[in-house]
């Protein structure tokens, strides 16, 4: 086990030190407008970045370079060649693969009238830093920071439908039913007296019944009619049990 790890480690060390390096030969960019007038054309220096580029809505950026082996200078076709557009402020990035010929020559065109879908969303104030990524089995991978470019403002990145669940949701605001109000005291008192008044009516009627007929206890005595007082003349025959 330890022998295997030692072998792997030594292999890694060997590959790191002996792998050849890649470089770029004569990288150039050209910005031209829609009617083919050239606005800016410069060689790109890898040691010092050129001034930030600016592209209008209809401008075209052309990029040409050749990938070579650093020591020998012959053209190399790397297995992966990507142009990376990175927005430092928002963290958005876009990767654009570039086709390289077997001789190592590469040409890339960015037409703002028909921008590629790989461009990240841009803002009007922040530039995109453009870098070239080269990957190969035979050579060590390398990243060249080329330039900064100001692109026209784009639509903001679409929000994921689940975006809201990753942030605190807004505070729930409850609307409670209004407190029940009591009516004013005089009205309340009036109606209280009104509701209790039937008791007085009942009392009065009972007293009247007691007075008109015999004492109170005889009202419930037996079945049928208690003998009515003499002043009332019975007009109908009264049933007797």
């Amino acid at each position: 086990m330890s022998i295997l790890s030692f072998c792997l480690l030594s292999l890694l060390v060997v590959s790191g030190t002996d792998a050849a390096k890649l470089s770029l030969q004569s990288p150039r960019f050209t910005i031209s407008s829609s009617n083919a007038t050239q606005l800016r054309a410069e060689p790109i220096s890898l040691a010092q970045q050129p001034a930030p580029l600016t592209l209008g809505l209809t401008d075209v950026l052309k990029l040409t370079f050749q990938v070579i082996e650093k020591d020998e200078g012959k053209g190399v076709q790397p297995h992966q060649t990507f142009l990376r557009f990175y927005d430092k402020v928002s963290g958005e990035e876009g990767i654009q693969p570039i086709r390289v010929t077997p001789a190592g020559k590469a040409k890339f065109e960015l037409n703002m009238a028909r921008p590629p879908t790989s461009l990240p969303p841009t803002t009007s104030s922040d530039p995109l830093s453009v870098s070239l990524l080269l990957g190969s089995f035979e050579y060590s991978p390398v990243q060249f920071d080329m330039f900064d470019i100001y692109l026209p403002e784009s639509q903001p990145a679409p929000q994921h439908p689940d975006e809201a669940t990753f942030h605190p949701l807004p505070t729930i605001v409850h609307t409670f039913r209004a407190e029940q109000k009591l009516p004013p005291r005089p009205i309340s008192a009036t109606f209280a007296a009104l509701v209790l008044a039937p008791w007085a009516v009942l009392l009065g009627l009972t007293v009247k019944l007691c007075r008109d007929v015999a004492p109170f206890t005889t009202i419930y005595k037996g079945w049928g009619i208690v003998r009515p007082p003499k002043k009332l003349i019975p007009s109908t025959p009264l049933a007797q049990a």
Binding site: S188, F191, V195, P198, T206, L238
Partner: protein, 136 residues
């Protein structure tokens, strides 16, 4: 309840008309007075006691309903309990009156007045159990 009573009113219509004391026409007030007189004469005091209780319940229920309709129904459960007790008790008392009335004896052969009163008492207890619990 008013069925057996109305037969006596028809027989007593031949009495002399009395002086009007209300805003009704003389014929209406005369009819009312005659009805009242016949009621007084024909009804036993036992039934009159029950009628007094019925009138009391009706007035009580009307007063509570007016309060709920006009002012507020704020403690709604209290209104329901009070109004329900008036209506329920009215129904029980009315059924008691019809069962106890000797003129209805033919319809209630198997129900004695004591049995009717026992039913009335039991019904009232159950009603007031619910009413008390609903009062809140």
């Amino acid at each position: 309840m008013a069925g057996p009573k109305s037969s006596s009113a028809a027989a007593a219509k031949s009495t002399t008309p009395s002086s009007t004391s209300s805003s009704l026409t003389p014929a209406t007030s005369n009819a009312v007075h005659t009805l009242w007189k016949a009621y007084n004469e024909a009804t036993s005091s036992r039934l009159k006691t029950i009628d007094a209780f019925l009138v009391f319940l009706m007035l009580s229920g009307i007063a509570q309903f007016l309060y709920c309709a006009l002012v507020t129904n704020f403690p709604f459960n209290a209104f329901l309990a009070g109004f329900g007790s008036c209506v329920g008790q009215f129904v029980l008392t009315a059924s008691l009156r019809s069962q106890v009335n000797p003129e209805n004896r033919a319809e209630f052969k198997e129900v004695s007045p004591e049995r009717a009163f026992a039913d009335f008492a039991l019904g009232s207890i159950v009603l007031h159990f619910f009413v008390y619990n609903f009062l809140g």
